[in-house]
Amino acid sequence: MICFCKIMKLFSVGISLLICGVALSAEQSQIFKSKDDIAIYSKNEIAFSDIGKIKDYFGILIQAKESERQLAQADIYVFNNEQKISIDQALCGSYTDKIFGSESETGLKVEKKINLFKTPTGQSCEILLKDNDRSAKIPYRYVIAGFVHGRSVALVWQLNSVTDEDKAKLKTFWLALR
């Protein structure tokens, strides 16, 4: 009888873990879908990926078919408690402050003013930040933020160099996200 109870306990623990696992996969799968071949890894799966990052950091997005390494991978931030329902310049600026901190704290300077652009589901914004340190290992951060699936999301690419062509490519990728 005792043995049977133990087996039932183990069984119920197993079922709970399975349910948790399914819930996690469901959460991951609902962030984005895209016609591009993408993969999403949560911060818990990638060692050191959350170090020095805020709690809204979700994980890493990879474009499998992007040949240029620096464009193929972006950090994902999901702002679950966002009250607003559309992006404007102020909200976009607040996200960069939230993710990185101010220029005086970080040495990251906004290169040009925040640019808003149209998407099928409203507006999104793009920001390019440059590290004031000339010897920085990650000289640029390119951010696109907007609403996907009704959730406020930002993607951050770490770039060694950046061209208008790169930015156009990443914006096209963003526009294909659903």
Partner: protein, 174 residues
């Protein structure tokens, strides 16, 4: 009745003692975020052996977990933390990196990195040349070895996303 009073007093005493111990440990902690502050600490001989010389390059690899390269160096008088790590997921390699200004705090047993954003990260000192951070034991190394480890971490594994892409892109609907 007397027993319960005795236990309440005993627990109060224990809590008070542990707070005093914690305070004493906190007093041993030294912190710096600028080169000037670091030089003061060096001059007063309070820096632990692992921080006697900056820049500090650390790295390590594990068959199961992957590779990591970490550095602490001064740039324009402020200290910067850099991490570049590769994680193996099955046969696939995923890399991540970050570079931040930090405040470094150390005591006899721990090294703490306080970031502008996000929670602080603690590492355990395992000797003059080794620390444990996020379950990785990493050791000091010279610039040449660090540079090659950093490059090895960054090497792109081909088609690393393919297997998982189906599951992560299939579930959404708008």
């Amino acid at each position: 009745m007397y027993y319960s009073k005795f236990f309440i007093l005993l627990s109060a005493l224990l809590i008070s003692n542990s707070t005093q111990i914690a305070n004493a440990q906190a007093k041993n902690e030294i912190c710096f975020s600028t080169e000037a502050e670091y030089n003061e600490i060096l001059a007063s001989n309070k820096a632990p052996l692992i921080l006697q010389k900056l820049p500090l390059y650390l790295g390590g690899e594990s068959m199961i977990k992957g590779k990591v390269a970490v550095s602490l160096s001064f740039v324009n008088g402020v200290i910067k933390f850099y991490v570049n790590a590769a994680t193996m997921i099955g046969d696939f390699k995923i890399t991540t990196s970050n570079e931040n200004r930090v405040k470094v705090c150390v005591d006899d047993a721990k090294l703490k990195l306080e970031f502008t954003k996000g929670p602080a990260q603690e590492a355990t000192l395992l000797g003059p040349k080794k620390i444990s951070i996020k379950g990785f034991d990493i050791e000091t190394m010279n610039l040449k070895d660090f540079t090659s480890l950093d490059a090895a971490v960054s090497e792109r594994a081909s088609a690393s996303a393919k297997t998982k892409s189906n599951s992560s892109s299939a579930g959404g609907n708008q």
